[in-house]
Symmetry: C2
Subunit: 311 residues, 2 copies
């Protein structure tokens, strides 16, 4: 099967991702009433698939939706999307939307809705321009603040991203690669699609509040334990970022990515950090070794795959 | 023309609103990167159309999008939607989306996007069950807070409504009709689709911060001036609401709506307030008299209308 823009599972059937749509009256659009997760496939294997599924269910529970498909069905749909798209390297999205509900367009009862499941596989991507993975990214500390958990629970992975986009404009206008947002309390939270880390005094540190707890963030904690590095969560300020020995990002879209500039100022000597490089190498080596991976092929049910190839 | 679920203008053509869709990869969905406005038509006439258009442009400016259509075209499209739907009473939505942009699904450059315009007319609705307009609504002070302007500028009318929906669940679970949200600072902001007012010591008061400045809110200030009532903005707490002589809501979806219970407690004697009733009566009387209204028929260009009826 040749490369494509991607394959979606939408309205209970597979289709080219560019043909998949949602109604403009769907509350998933008009109220951003939807949660999602995003899992990477590298060299034909999912990474931490069950961890992503568990977090997806946590997100669903938080906004009170239930996917109308079992976990086995979700795994099968994800494998089908990436296999039909012909991707060796991919990011697969899974979404649960509130769905339409009775009582009119605007203010019906969301408790009566029939929740819906959507999935799609797209080519693997990096959350900063790919060459920055080698040379280091320029991170911008935005004026825009991250919406607090008391309003929008950021542990539920969601599309209410107007704050992230506003911060992204700040970063791009300044010539930087990506923004990081402070909480309303003034502490570092996260950027669009990634967690932020610093290395200081030999310790690897990341924020713990008002953010999505990334699966790659969890992986960095695991890798630090393997490498004998001390890792912890702490409240971090903009000054902590500027004064760090190293800064890096963690994301499903790129793994461990060095940051060499913060708001127009070099981090330490301006080169990617040694600890960052060690963690990045370890991340890709462990994946290549099959650590916590699930081959896509192992999930494909033969009869479903055959039906696909006959289409 | 018979009644319908509504008519949309989407992808530069008119269609039944239930057939109008957006791509699942559109940032208007995946990042809720869109602003909108909603204008009412009652008895065949728009209310404060140009005020809504001015606010729509303010919202667009805030998130840095530009509708790819002129104001004359927007007025024409709105009139066509409501006319083709056959509605005497309607709410017409206008949206400007960021649109797709280069650089991949997740983290391209939004400054390069081609912004898009969508409109649709749906039947007129009330933001609480309609009988509450007579009997009074039960308003619930939610635990969920409104996302602060420092994160999401609520003066730009937007679909990042996860906080509003979470608060709506609180209200419905408690048996109330609708929620009102406090700011992170603890002051009353707004509810889903409406502003909140109290009457105390003969003064009509509404909050001024961290909220959308409703066109009906502006109208209430105008009506107060006509009626010789003193009106003002002030920081209001939950206690101010519970202790008020009267409480009411203002919305494009229902006008001036009395609140007779706040979080399970009667407002004053539990009956709709006299000042509230006076403002509601004045609202509908002034509209019927043609104050600040624009008949739909006056906007319809004959040649477009003829092309429509020939379809």
């Amino acid at each position: 099967m040749s490369e494509s823009a991607g394959i979606a599972y939408c309205n209970r059937r597979y289709m080219p991702v560019d043909e998949a749509t949602i109604p403009i009256l769907d509350p998933a659009f008009t109220k951003s009433d939807v949660v999602f997760d995003a899992v990477s496939v590298w060299d034909g294997a999912f990474f931490r698939l069950d961890d992503h599924l568990a977090r997806f269910h946590d997100s669903c529970d938080t906004i009170r939706v239930t996917p109308p498909v079992s976990d086995d069905e979700i795994r099968q749909i994800m494998a089908q999307c990436v296999d039909r798209a012909g991707f060796a390297n991919s990011v697969i999205y899974i979404l649960c939307t509130r769905g339409r509900y009775a009582g009119g367009i605007a203010f019906g009862d969301p408790r009566t809705a029939e929740n819906e499941f959507i999935a799609y596989a797209v080519p693997y991507y990096w959350i900063v321009p790919k060459d920055r993975v080698e040379t280091g990214a320029h991170l911008w500390i935005a004026e825009t603040r991250r919406a607090p958990d008391a309003a929008i629970n950021q542990r539920a992975k969601n599309f209410n991203r107007m704050d992230l986009t506003r911060a992204q404009f700040e970063a791009l206008d300044a010539g930087a690669d990506a923004p990081v947002l402070l909480s309303t309390d003034g502490f570092i939270t996260e950027g669009p699609g990634f967690n932020v880390w610093i290395v200081r005094d030999g310790q690897v540190v990341t924020p713990g509040d008002n953010l999505l707890e990334g699966i790659t963030r969890r992986t960095v904690f695991d890798l630090c334990a393997m490498a004998g590095l001390e890792a912890a969560t702490a409240d971090l300020t903009a000054e902590d970022l500027r004064g760090a020995n190293e800064v890096f990002l963690s994301s499903t879209g790129g793994g461990v990515i060095p940051v060499t500039r913060v708001s127009d100022q070099a981090v330490a000597n301006g080169a990617p950090g040694l600890t960052t490089g060690r963690l990045s190498d370890l991340y890709w080596r462990k994946r290549a070794e099959g650590w916590l991976t699930t081959p896509v092929a192992d999930l494909l049910q033969p009869e479903v795959a055959e039906a696909a190839s006959a289409e």
